[in-house]
Subunit: 214 residues, 2 copies
């Protein structure tokens, strides 16, 4: 079995442009540009100029990646995580108020929020996100025992519980601009104290927490 060329000119084209010469040119181009890639799983992401890209393609190393616009990036993130729009809206909501927001991996919550850099201050809020239409998040804090358990945990770890409800207000999640129509409501849940017969709720205004006494 010999080579099976694709089309009648393919063999002549291949002979005129041998792979050995393409690879040599590519090697010298990579050395010249002092090429350094980003490791991404088992792939390497390499920034290459037009000439190097051409050599890479002719030598059959890798494939070019397309630049995504905001809309495509939004769709990509949604495909990775269906709740991305709500999660991003809630994240931005806190970031815009200058809270430092990190994904939570300790308290079965969504985020933890810091008043400043985590090297200077402990996180102040455990943030739970309730999204409209998301069945998993809608089942959270639904029964009293869950609320009490979460609140109890927060007391032990000396953090406040912040529940963010994201309301889509009838907007779809088809593009990043839809998020502008979403609203985020903050609820902090505190213990009702029969001693002073006051219900205490707290509201975040900017980077401040205001205690409201009813």
């Amino acid at each position: 079995m010999g080579p099976r060329w694709k089309g009648k000119d393919a063999k002549a084209k291949a002979l005129a442009d041998p792979m050995s010469s393409i690879v040599l040119q590519l090697q010298s181009s990579l050395v010249q540009s002092d090429a350094q890639g980003f490791l991404c799983g088992c792939n390497v992401l390499l920034e290459a100029g037009p000439k190097q890209t051409d050599l890479l393609l002719r030598a059959c190393f890798g494939e070019p990646i397309k630049k995504l616009n905001d809309q495509e990036l939004f769709q990509y993130m949604k495909s990775k995580k269906t709740t991305f729009p709500d999660s991003y809206k809630a994240y931005s909501h806190l970031r815009l108020k200058n809270w430092v927001v990190m994904y939570d991996s300790n308290y079965c919550a969504d985020f933890v929020a810091y008043r400043h850099h985590p090297s200077l201050v402990h996180s102040e809020f455990v943030v739970i996100l309730l999204s409209e239409g998301d069945s998993e998040s809608n089942d959270r804090l639904r029964v009293w025992s869950d609320v009490r358990g979460t609140k109890r945990l927060c007391k032990v770890i000396k953090k406040a519980l912040l529940v963010l409800s994201v309301d889509k207000n009838g907007h779809d999640a088809t593009s990043p601009s839809c998020l502008e129509g979403y609203t985020v409501t903050e609820h902090t849940i505190s213990r009702w104290s029969p001693n002073n017969a006051m219900r205490i709720t707290r509201k975040m205004i900017g980077n401040q927490v205001v205690v409201l006494c009813h």
Copy 2:
């Protein structure tokens, strides 16, 4: 519950360097550098100069990644795929002979090898890798029915079967330099034809396949 600062100077430090001002500086730095990142799963890899890196860290966005040397890259790839050293040795062996080698996703083999760019020529070899000590690969082509089945498939798809055995020659796989001590042996398996009473084997010398008649 108020903020719990870490250490006695933390609050003063935070007040002297408010998060709002850090974020503003970062935003302007990102706009100025026309920052573009590589999307890697749900992460973004961003090339940043020292000043921008400092701002990203102070605003608590992401974390710096370390430059890996050859040895670290080798260990990383081994951690992703235990058979990486053998697989890479076999891949390099064919690439050094100017074959274009692609991972195989169609024929339950390891690679397919092309004489030139796949846009010009169909792949010529289905490559199966037998590695010393790799229990899965050692079970391949062990019984006659497997060899016959694979050979039959290759006939249908008009490709030759190339079996590469990687021999470690007692070398470990602890560093990329160990691979220099490995040897790769090529076997192509062909049908014995009683008509001409010749056993035909083929040998790859450089980018050429030489047919040897016994």
